[in-house]
Symmetry: C2
Amino acid sequence: MAKRIAYLGPPGTFTEEAALLYDETAQLIPFPSIPAVAVAVDSGMAEEGVVPIENSIEGSVTDTLDLLIHESRVLIRKELVLPIEHHLLVKPGTQVSEVRVIFSHPQALGQCRHFIERCFPKVEIVAALSTAAAVEEMMTSDYPAAAIGTRRAAELYGAETSAKAIQDQASNVTRFVVLAPTDHPATGFDKTSLCFSFAEDRPGVLCAVLQEFAQRTINLAKVESRPTKESLGKYIFLVDLEGHHDDPLVSEALARVREKTALFKVFGSYPKYK
Amino acid sequence: MAKRIAYLGPPGTFTEEAALLYDETAQLIPFPSIPAVAVAVDSGMAEEGVVPIENSIEGSVTDTLDLLIHESRVLIRKELVLPIEHHLLVKPGTQVSEVRVIFSHPQALGQCRHFIERCFPKVEIVAALSTAAAVEEMMTSDYPAAAIGTRRAAELYGAETSAKAIQDQASNVTRFVVLAPTDHPATGFDKTSLCFSFAEDRPGVLCAVLQEFAQRTINLAKVESRPTKESLGKYIFLVDLEGHHDDPLVSEALARVREKTALFKVFGSYPKYK
């Protein structure tokens, strides 16, 4: 039986593209939200789940971080990095000069703002709940319309690509993670993601933790603070470090950090994406 | 002449509420994007500008951070904190049981997901470009509809509030900043926001910088890393610290940090919100 992979749907989104890139032989099952993907993995409806975690322009996907911090027993087993390309899609045969309406998700519209202002200064902009929903609405629209969506959505809905890679920022990439009940064995080229917070907010506490890594020459790939859900003033720190939690030095550093922090949770170790 | 304050519009959004809270006697001028607000201040179209910078649930507003990092000569002069309350609005006289469509911005819809699932399991959800646009669309809709929007939008469009504070997370607050050509003189109860990055990514560089603050007992209110626009692997660090850049110890620490970093930029010092 094919492996079942839950992903943040609907079909035709970038997350589906990432899941296909990861395992094109798997049975892909769309779920309506990021927490739903985690529940699917946790409950055995799927062996693994794919969700976005970070975009080079928008920053972190907070739903995924909050899930890893607060809710779920799933771990990160893999990371995937996908270039994000927005395309201008139309019904086959539609002339670009006729287009009166452009459908898309507000985030995609924001990422293509310059293109729209230059090429379609007078067009009506209509929001959709996802880029896939936008393509569907465009295909059933009564007047000449376009949608901003993925290559995969064009395939699924039979749309024609009238302009490629129309996003303002050329280097737009998203990092996805594969969630599973267990993380990945060490490969010698790994990353580990974790979070921690402090009982008390005094000068130097974060520095003392980062020193545990620095003095063992463990490089940090990322440090981020998220407000706790209760208030803006209290923070949870998220760290990605280079190495596997089974590496002796990493394991030692993690044990010391655990002693110095109030909340402490390792999200998993996994191979670093090329 | 009244002070002119640019803000992220349209009228009826939370940013307008924040601007009114800050100065209800000012002339408020809506702009269509966060960069446009900064341009308005930089070019003298307005004396000050109000934009959101951080939400307790969604995290940082990346457009505002990117603007402060990369683009603008404006500084942070003040911070404001506003509780975010979403309301269910209808045309006066509409019965909730008749509602067939709910309009809102996808982010507001996400923040009220539990409420909608419980109270309106069968309703059609329609995306809008802003919560204010959603209220406008609801008011002109042909069939019985509702919109998720602000108290201020209800006022502006003459809508009736049929349910109050329907967001899933009770403690949802947003931090706004007032942008101006100069920052704020020291008050003795201040914060300073800055960013820096490193030419080389080696273990311990971030720690060495944080130590400059820790050894002077300067408390950090926030540490965050943002991917640089070029790639996911390189980061810019954003720090909020307690104190004013004119305080001798802060000034000394900032000078040392400047020497240790490649990019270094102070966004301003301003009074800490209550």
